[in-house]
Amino acid sequence: MGQIALRNVNKSFGATIIIPNINLDIEDGEFVVFVGPSGCGKSTLLRLIAGLEDTTSGTIQIDGRDVTNEAPAKRKLAMVFQSYALYPHMTVAKNIAFPLKMAGESPEVIDRKVKDAARVLNLTNYLERRPGQLSGGQRQRVAIGRAIVRQPSAFLFDEPLSNLDAALRGTMRLEISELHNQLKTTMIYVTHDQVEAMTMADKIVVLNAGNVEQVGSPLELYNRPKNLFVAGFIGSPKMNLIEGAPAARHGARTIGIRPEHLNASKASGEWKARVGVAEHLGSDTFLHVHADGVGPLTVRAGGEIGLDHGQDVYLTPDLSKLHRFGDDGQAMLAA
């Protein structure tokens, strides 16, 4: 079981308020991603759940049990750190065995579980090595191994992939998702990378300055962002946000349109624009254009569009996919 509930959780360091007031429910077995820009309080929130930081006020419940004042060791959670935090003086086998040893398991049980974990994570040949003799990806796997052997009620990941190179990050992302499918244990994953959030999460929690901006499935956030912050943060390339006359025409302060919802044509369209940079990715072309009376826009066009710097293009927004935001930055209901 791994159901986690935060009730009016508040955290401040001295006079600095990191997390003003958070209420959040995480269901058993869910893969939840906390995402937000650096300094938004996502890591602090994770550390509050882990028990590595004390909550200033509010309660944290795990499986209905109030653990707000319990030591990290008593919460039955496992954590994977950004720096891996392996014990440098222990072999891989001893690192993975450590939580079991602390739990007082018998040597036979420890041996079996360590071997199982090593097999799952492809570490069998490295069991007698020290962390210093492993590559970044292998170290991360050891850290994950150390987390899975104790069968925690939830896993906490604190930006676990940010020290890896791009290729390895992609592979590890898949491995963690697969692990979640196998174990079906609650996972809370902190990242500043919205691609990681979109690809891995069942549920994304978007944080900004300690506040929850929106909670929902990746597609919910993508299709129905509640406010400008979420609209701008989720999606790559970013949603185009347009103010002024074009927005006023739709009765909004700001309108948002995703790059793929702008239809590009060489012949005719609503907005005339000039191509600044064209990024040809093969399958897609990202056009960074400047539209007359609208401003800079990003357009996702087909791979065969055949447009380059300095050429004119006509753009037509798909009005059914238009997002409208009011003066307060909140999404407006369809008119």
Partner: protein, 274 residues
């Protein structure tokens, strides 16, 4: 051509380095050479080839009993080091792992005590030792040596402990380790190399300390420093015997230093070459 210049340059630098090293080492070498001379030879003037007699050693031993002083040196240096570690480990620990706004100031204050000339407090300390009956006692001197070196021990350990990443301790906490298990299985093994080199350096510092050891002892607690100085005494200078005594005093620490050079270098350069 470029290569030839490099080789020549290298030879010159190497030769210069050897000359400087020999110059620095020469006093010690000459002390050892002189210790194998007879008293007659020793006062005759500069001579690098001794007759090889060991009569000075025999006489020094017969006159003062080297072993008594050696034992005191061992007890004082090891004892004061252990005392210093007992106090410094928790102090450095708390400053490294739960620093406050004043931690840096406290560290600076500790270091500042090393800037005071020792002679400035000679009288008060001598009087305190006299009145408390600590003069010429091993305990008294052990406490004195411990206090002298404590700032350095705290500083060294502090820099070592600071190197241990906090996340590893948090990982241990998450893994279910109690505070005690955290100390036994994670902290101590990671800190042992740091503690060991601090210990070695402090033993050497305490072994070589001459200001207080000579002034606060007479016979009972006198270590090798006092043993050496007793040979430049009212009877006049006996170069060969003085050299023999000096050689005997530096030999143990030289041997220990030789075997532990790796730890010592690491200890001394720690923090400087990160």
């Amino acid at each position: 051509m470029a290569r030839a210049v490099t080789t020549q340059h290298k030879t010159i630098v190497t030769a210069a380095a050897w000359i400087v090293a020999l110059l620095i080492f020469f006093p010690i070498l000459y002390t050892i050479i002189t210790s194998f001379k007879s008293e007659q030879e020793a006062i005759q003037g500069f001579n690098l080839i001794p007759s090889g007699t060991t009569e000075s050693y025999a006489e020094v031993q017969a006159q003062s009993g080297y072993f008594h002083f050696f034992l005191n040196s061992v007890i004082l240096s090891v004892g004061s080091t252990i005392l210093a570690l007992i106090i410094a480990i928790p102090a450095a620990w708390s400053m490294a792992f739960s620093p406050t706004r004043r931690t840096k100031d406290v560290l600076m204050w500790m270091l500042s005590t090393k800037m005071m000339p020792a002679v400035a407090v000679l009288f008060p300390i001598y009087l305190i030792f006299r009145d408390t009956g600590l003069l010429d006692s091993r305990i008294g001197l052990m406490i004195m040596l411990m206090l002298i070196n404590l700032p350095i021990v705290v500083w060294m350990l502090y820099t070592y402990f600071r190197e241990i990443p906090g996340e590893i301790l948090e990982a241990a906490r998450m893994d279910g380790a109690s505070l005690w298990n955290e100390i036994i299985y994670v902290l101590t093994p990671m800190a042992v190399p740091g503690i060991a080199s601090t210990m070695l350096l402090n033993i050497i510092l305490a072994w070589n300390e001459a200001f207080w050891t000579i002034r606060l002892t007479t016979t009972e607690a006198a270590p090798l420093t006092a043993f050496i100085s007793s040979f430049s005494s009212p009877q006049g200078l006996f170069w060969a015997k003085l050299s023999a005594a000096s050689t005997l005093a530096i030999a143990p620490i030289l041997i220990m230093g030789w075997f532990s050079q790796k730890q010592l270098v690491r200890g001394l350069t720690f923090g400087a070459v990160k």
